[in-house]
């Protein structure tokens, strides 16, 4: 019988702990597939964040380091600089990367640190129970913005890709959405390019993945992916924000 689909070697046998309808699982799968297809098995160091993906070290089939909240790009820098021949990636959420870890991500990008960052933007703090994130949309309700996010009180959401694309360091910055098959396929291409750039020594690459959090958004999984597609992409437009190969 012909095999049409297989579990990728770059994921372990450990079942994911993610909620039903959460797109972390898709993101993990895409990263793992890309690493396997690039043939770098046995040459990878992954950095897990604090947040829902804290247990990522149980899932990726490679050496893993668990970093303090927001510090994954600094930890990745230390690992990469002392092991320049290894593929090093940091996997971070929006609270981790765009709030407490803004200094680390900006300076890793500014240095052109030769690492790959996977940025999960689901506009909410998932693990701590649905608090407002730096990327929470205006009007979006969270446990700490119960009447909906307001500009007066909370300011506007932070657009990380746009911000990092202004720097000279990054080689590739893209935003994709894990909302439907076509966009998931695009996301995989972007992730692969981000790793290819690292392997080619081109420097810092980041892919932002607009993701869903049905549990904390109070939606069904289908409502949640629709929200990603229809609402989040208005504030966070999809596309490639920087690509030194095209400049």
């Amino acid at each position: 019988m012909a095999v049409v689909f297989e579990k990728t070697n770059m994921l372990t046998e450990t079942p994911f702990h993610y909620c039903p309808g959460c797109t972390h699982g898709i993101a993990h799968r895409l990263v793992a597939e890309c690493l396997q297809e690039l043939g770098v098995e046995g040459n990878v160091i992954g950095i897990a964040p604090v947040g829902c993906a804290v247990f990522a070290y149980n899932y990726f089939n490679c050496d893993m380091q668990q970093a303090a909240h927001g510090r994954a790009p600094a930890v990745a820098t230390g690992a990469k600089r002392t092991n320049p021949d290894k593929v090093v990636f940091a996997y971070q959420g929006d609270g981790d990367l765009a709030s407490i870890g803004t200094a680390e991500i900006i300076h890793a990008a500014a240095r052109g640190e030769n690492i790959t960052v996977i940025f999960i933007n689901n506009a909410i703090y998932g693990m701590t129970g649905g608090q407002m994130a730096p990327t929470t949309l205006l009007g979006q309700k969270s446990t700490t913005s119960q009447a909906g996010r307001s500009v007066a009180l909370n300011g506007n959401p932070i657009k990380v890709c746009e911000m990092l694309a202004t720097l000279d360091g990054p080689s590739y910055i893209a935003r994709c959405a894990l909302s439907d098959t076509a966009n998931v396929n695009k996301a995989k291409k972007a992730i692969k390019k981000a790793f290819e750039n690292q392997i080619a020594g081109k420097g810092f690459a980041m892919v932002e993945l607009l993701s869903s959090c049905p549990t904390n958004w109070g939606m069904t999984p289908t409502q949640a992916v629709d929200f990603v597609k229809e609402e989040m992409t208005k504030v966070f437009p999809l596309g490639v924000y920087k690509d030194i190969d095209k400049e």
């Binding site: 372990t12 950095i47 303090a68 600094a74 930890v75 820098t77 230390g78 600089r81 092991n83």
Partner: protein, 353 residues
């Protein structure tokens, strides 16, 4: 051959000779000569130097490099060490070896830039969250700082924990003649089968982590760490006694203050007062047994702890003396440094009373 070197630069060179191949730091007075020196020295030996965007990032770069198997270090001074405490707690939790140098300055807050010893608490009592300790050395000369730095990575690797070298502005800025030891061959360093160097797959996969969500597992980790601290106490406690054999008044001091105290002891002896000095070289583990043994001697009348602080180490001295003899305190703060004469006068005034 002896060479005249500034403390900070000597420590930096000793780090390289002791195997350091990665440094991550952020500028702060009075330790800037360490990163400056290493920024030009490390590339010569194939090492890596990065000036991080903050102390927070610097210690986390150390975390990443140490987790991947490198001999990595950082250096800073008090306010910067406060910022590093989060990372230090994670490094201790993840059982990673590294070296941290703290050239202490006065506080609290931005404080000053002159020498101080007011980081004793944040160094030996934790500083970050959780139950943990580091192996803490307090050198009193540039040569001793060099010797300690030279072996610091070996100790860190042996116990899989950070080693902190607690200097002060004086140790950093002073120039003294030093004998530099030969460069260690990295081929002789112990293999780190736990390191996440990227080669692990499947069953051989390694994880560096400080998260233990199951209470029983975390409790086990805490017990494992403390069993290691017991080993430290047994094997690594270091101190120096000076003229304690027949001493009636025993000074207790560490770091550069111990040199000042040593001068004071000699001057007091010249005046016919039987003074002595005990100098902890490791602040953790603290030489409690040695101090207790001295306290138990009949000739000893009292102890005087002297520090560049409002009195921090004195708590450990009192615990060690355990009520056997009175323990007094003489300290200067703010970056002021006592002179031997200050100490002599303090002792003479006490004797008069």
């Amino acid at each position: 051959m002896k060479v005249l070197m500034k403390g900070n630069e000597a420590v930096a060179e000793a780090a390289v000779r002791g195997g350091c191949r990665a440094f991550f730091g952020y500028p702060i007075t009075p330790q800037n000569e360490i990163p400056e020196y290493l920024s030009r020295r490390l590339p010569e030996v194939g090492g890596c130097f990065i000036q991080a965007e903050s102390e927070v990032s610097a210690i986390n770069m150390v975390y990443g490099a140490a987790a991947a198997g490198a001999r990595a270090m950082t250096s800073s001074s008090s306010p910067g060490i406060s910022l590093k405490q989060e990372g230090i707690s994670y490094i201790c939790g993840a059982e990673l070896p590294c070296v941290i140098v703290n050239m202490v300055r006065g506080g609290p807050g931005l404080g000053g830039i002159q020498p101080a010893q007011s980081d004793y608490f944040q160094t030996v009592k934790g500083g970050g969250h959780g139950d943990y300790h580091m192996l803490v050395y307090a050198p009193n000369t540039v040569q001793e700082a060099v010797n300690i730095m030279y072996d610091a990575f070996d100790k860190a690797d042996a116990y899989r924990m950070p080693v902190m070298i607690l200097g002060d502005g004086m140790i950093g800025q002073i120039m003294e003649a030093v004998e530099l030891p030969p460069i260690k061959d990295p081929a002789n360093f112990p293999k780190k089968d736990w390191a996440t160097d990227g080669t692990g797959v499947g069953k051989d996969r390694r994880i560096v982590n400080s998260l233990y969500i199951e209470p029983d597992v975390l409790e086990e980790v805490n017990h494992r760490l403390f069993a290691r601290y017991d080993e430290l106490k047994k094997n690594e406690t270091r101190y120096e006694e000076f003229m304690c054999d027949d001493a009636e008044i025993v000074l207790v001091a560490y770091g550069t203050v111990a040199r000042i105290a040593k001068s004071a002891v000699s001057e007091l002896r010249a005046k016919g007062i039987k003074a002595g000095l005990i100098r902890p070289i490791t602040l953790y583990p603290f030489p409690s047994e040695a101090i207790n043994a001295i306290a138990a001697k009949d000739c000893v009348k009292s102890f005087i702890t002297t520090e560049l602080s409002m009195g921090q180490m004195i708590e450990d001295v009192k615990l060690a003396v355990n009520g056997l003899k009175p323990v007094d305190f003489y300290g200067r703060t703010g970056g002021n440094v006592m002179t031997p004469e200050d100490l002599v006068n303090y002792v003479l005034n006490k004797e008069d009373k």
